[in-house]
């Protein structure tokens, strides 16, 4: 990254809409602030997580002298764009500073043409309500288990409710849509045969969540027959991402993906053998990094042609045409793909498939076995709550995109993006405070109560009213499970039947019937009622009851008690909070800290790790550096960056720091940048990297090195380890 020239001429552009469309403003001054704060965590810990909504001011000269009463009126509410360039010597390339909206507009004096605008990130759309649906995915492959959902999916829902899409939304011609942003099931299309392979969700180099491998089968809403063309679009998480489309039971498959930086591969299995061919591919200009679109043309039962492109309206690559043994059946599903997010199979090459992402959401690492009882909340509150619970941070960045970054990056596990030295700052004021030191840390989290059985003995719902079904008719009952969810519903048997010993009492869904509402009368036959249950959603089941006899039946048992019981193999309901603690005992603690992670953390390992980290961050005061003025403005410094701060002469600091607050301002002839930095403790992979840099691979070498550095006491070793972040 080039530094600005020592005698520099910075430039900035402000474009604002004050009621007459976007126009370039004659700005006198502007300033933009972003600060990560909030989240309900103690001060010095809070600094490394939380949320930020940017705000600022613009003072401009209105040459048309419009007021609130002139014919062309000015009004707030329009959008503002600010870009700035710091003059590194090459041609000016302005970088985004803000994409905000004008919230207030003021004219300080009727005599002047100056207009003072107050601007802020647009989170109004994020006040939209979001109803978190119940999620319970379970599968039997490898043993009955629930398939985890990453908590980042909740942030994906919140961003979507606020109009910020992490992956392109479903287009009208789609026959399969699977956003794969933490939740495996398809949005358009059916999901079945899920199993939990582990290592499910990853974060790619751009900070986006993706699905490592398929955990089940996604079925298209319509079959893809011979003679038709479909477009398959997705964003790749890592190299070698590919998708396999299949005929029923995967008898024949088409596997497409990108291999290498200049090729794509098509592999067709026709039932007995497979043919693989490779075609040329080039990343097209103006492409969205990682997004690709394949066009599959089933020319005939024995010939399939595939081409690829990487930008909206871009040219298709030369096609790969494979001639193979007859595959006459329609393609109906996909049960295998790797390193994919935002998957859509569509009948038309809709340009909306190339829309830019309005949110960049990383995988949080907090796996949820079931999502139950979350109800309805507003999008921004949900995003903040999940970010705080997962020890991550959520903010709106300089381009107006919603960013969620998970705890590892916020704690500095990544490689530093750049180094700040004494020549790069005007001063390094620092402070320490005893206010946030705690001697006991308690973490509360709320795993759901999950019941996994193999004999359909988990009771999920019982009727409280009898249903009367006239002869030969069908009645429908909707079972609302409330805050609970169920999967793998049991088939219905009569209350008194054991199905030849296969369905002992207390298992399987049960119905009972009588010819009178008070019970009594002859026991109906085992086939008197035909009852089927359909799972509309994890917490709502439709039960259809058909009366096959010639007389009206009531669903009551012999005593007149309503008797319709729904059972399943998998059920989940909100559980009891679990509290884990570290440090002094509850009686001896004088300064305890309690953090409630809520239902957004369900995994014991995650909670234990959060506890360990919180404890390490609160046993001793941690330094914070407020108001660090940067001498040579670096427009590439963003909120949430992890950088090295090395200053051996004045403060002795050599550590990784997190940019927890940025302030950019411009006046005539000046572009100023001020940061709030939080010092990060070194992590294990810092030690790894430091040893690799020093060329140390054995304990003997480490020994020799430490002696050579004069490190012979534990105190000296301590100091050396703490300085690793600066290496």
């Amino acid at each position: 990254m080039a530094v600005p020239r020592p005698d520099s001429v910075p430039q900035s552009t402000v474009s604002v809409d004050v009621g007459a469309g976007a126009e370039t403003a004659e700005a006198a001054t502007w300033s933009v602030d972003r600060d990560l704060s909030g989240g309900g965590l103690p001060g010095q810990v809070r600094a490394a997580s939380g949320f930020a909504v940017g705000s600022g001011q613009v003072s401009m000269h209105d040459s048309q002298v419009r007021t609130a009463w002139t014919t062309s009126r000015v009004r707030p509410g329009g959008s503002v764009s600010i870009d700035a360039a710091e003059d590194t010597g090459t041609a000016y390339s302005q970088r985004p500073v803000a994409r905000m909206v004008v919230t207030d507009l003021e004219a300080p004096s009727a005599l002047s043409t100056e207009r003072a605008l107050t601007i802020a990130d647009d989170v109004t759309s994020m006040r939209a309500p979001v109803n978190v649906p119940a999620v319970l995915l379970s599968g039997t492959a490898g043993g009955l288990d629930t398939v985890s959902t990453d908590a980042a999916w909740l942030i994906y829902l919140a961003a979507k409710a606020g109009g910020r899409h992490a992956v392109p939304p479903a287009v009208s011609s789609a026959i399969l849509v699977a956003p794969l942003c933490g939740y495996f099931a398809a949005e358009v299309g059916a999901t079945s045969d899920v199993s939990d392979p582990g290592l499910f969700w990853g974060t790619d180099a751009s900070g986006r969540i993706y699905c490592r491998q398929a955990a089940g089968t996604l079925t298209l809403t319509e079959p893809f027959a011979v003679g038709e063309t479909v477009y398959v679009t997705w964003t790749e998480g890592r190299w070698a991402s590919h998708v396999r489309l299949e005929t029923a039971s995967a008898a024949a498959t088409i596997d497409i993906g990108r291999i290498g930086s200049t090729q794509f591969q098509v592999s067709i299995f026709d039932g007995t053998s497979s043919t693989t061919q490779v075609g040329p591919w080039a990343q097209q200009a103006s492409a969205i990094p990682g997004r690709m679109q394949f066009r599959i043309v089933r020319t005939s039962a024995t010939s399939t042609s595939v081409s690829i492109r990487s930008s909206a309206g871009g040219a298709w690559s030369s096609a790969v045409t494979i001639t193979h043994a007859s595959v006459a059946g329609p393609i109906v599903q996909s049960s295998w793909f790797e390193e994919v997010s935002g998957l859509q199979v569509t009948r038309a090459a809709d340009s909306a498939l190339w829309s830019a992402a309005g949110a960049t959401i990383a995988s949080s690492g907090s796996l949820l076995q079931a999502v139950v009882g979350f109800g309805q909340t507003d999008a921004w509150s949900l995003a903040q709550a999940v970010a705080a619970s997962t020890m991550g941070a959520v903010w709106i960045d300089e381009t107006g995109t919603l960013i969620y970054r998970a705890r590892d990056l916020m704690r500095g596990s990544g490689v530093s993006v750049g180094t700040i030295t004494a020549d790069g700052v005007t001063d390094l004021p620092w402070s320490l405070s005893m206010q946030d030191v705690a001697d006991r840390v308690e973490v509360t989290y709320q795993p759901p109560a999950i019941s996994l059985v193999s004999d359909y003995s988990a009771t999920v719902w019982t009727a409280d009213k009898a249903v009367s079904i006239p002869a030969g008719k069908t009645r429908t009952v909707y079972a609302d499970l409330g805050t609970a969810a169920a999967d793998q519903l049991a088939p219905f048997f009569p209350l008194w039947s054991t199905n030849f010993g296969l369905a002992p009492a207390g298992t399987y869904s049960r119905w009972a019937a009588a010819t009178s509402a008070s019970g009594g009368g002859v026991t109906p036959s085992d086939t008197a009622l035909q009852v089927t249950a359909t799972r509309l959603s994890p917490s709502r089941v439709r039960i259809d009851i058909r009366n096959t006899t010639a007389s009206t039946l009531w669903t009551v048992d012999g005593t007149g008690t309503p008797s319709l019981i729904l059972r399943a193999n998998v059920s989940a309901s909100p559980g009891e909070p679990v509290t884990i603690a570290a440090g002094a005992t509850a009686d001896a603690a004088r300064n305890p800290v309690t953090v409630d992670l809520g239902p957004y953390v369900q995994d014991d390992a995650f909670a234990a790790e959060a506890l360990a980290w919180l404890q390490s961050m609160t046993t001793a005061p941690q330094p914070v550096l407020d108001d660090v003025d940067i001498t040579q403005v670096d427009m590439s410094i963003r909120l949430g960056d992890v950088r090295k701060l090395v200053d051996p002469s004045y403060t002795g600091i050599a550590a990784k720091v997190l940019v927890a607050g940025t302030h950019l301002s411009a006046e005539p002839g000046s572009l100023a940048q001020r940061l709030r930095l939080v010092v990060l403790l070194p992590m294990f992979n810092d030690l790894d990297r430091a040893l690799a840099t020093l060329g140390i691979t054995t304990f003997d070498q480490l020994d020799t090195y430490l002696v050579a550095q004069g490190i012979t006491t534990f105190d000296a070793l301590d100091t050396w380890l703490l300085s690793l972040g600066g290496l």
């Binding site: 600005p4 005698d7 001429v9 010597g89 001498t631 040579q632 004045y650 006046e667």
Partner: protein, 264 residues
Amino acid sequence: MKSGLWLGPYGGMVELDGVQAAVPVSQARPTREVVSLAGSRFVQRARRGPREWALTFAPWGAPGLIAVLQAAAQGIVNGDVWFLDEAAARVNMLPPEFTAPRTMSSTAGSIDSLTGLPSLANVTTGQVVVMPLRGGVNYRLTGITTSTSGTTIGTTKLGAASAVNVVAPAGSGARWWSTTLAPGSATELTVTISVSTVRNLRLVQAVTGTTYADAATVWLPGQGTPCKVQVVDPERTLQQILTSGHGRQDATVTLREVGIPGVI
């Protein structure tokens, strides 16, 4: 005595008479200075620095001499008020930002053999600059180009007349080109550069007739004249009231450069 300083709307400029020699010109370019912890100084500057001229009319200028200044200060002139410094117009009339862009293709730099000065970067393709010209005066537009002989490197347009192509001269490599303009009446000159191979732009006014202060193969930095100005109300020192005719007074007038250069 004529001063070579003109004031008024560009279609009606009046040459100021009796200006006292030694006119101070100050330039106020906004800057910010920061000093790092280690003591290094870094400076940021604005792209333009508006100028101020302090004209003194002494001793005893007659009211007729400062009439145009007073009318301009009173804000009653029909049109924007422009200020032209003929000496600067013989150097280079273009505003500095249009003679060459600010960019650094190499830290070492080099000497331009054609000008004898450090080489400047090429003008940005599509650059448009609009300058007012007076009628009855000859002007010369020059620059250096590396374009192939015969290709069009830009256009000049006087007022509403159609654009005239500027063509790269015969020869190859870096060489000077020049074109002359002689508007019959005051008009706007629009200069558009349509290639990326032109550098060291210069527009000068003739001394008299078609004689210029130097050859077409010289480049001097842009002076940005004429420019729009604000005329601050003159400070006057009343001297004498004569029994017949007008009274006498000394006057000091400050002219402050305003507006965006290169547009009208």
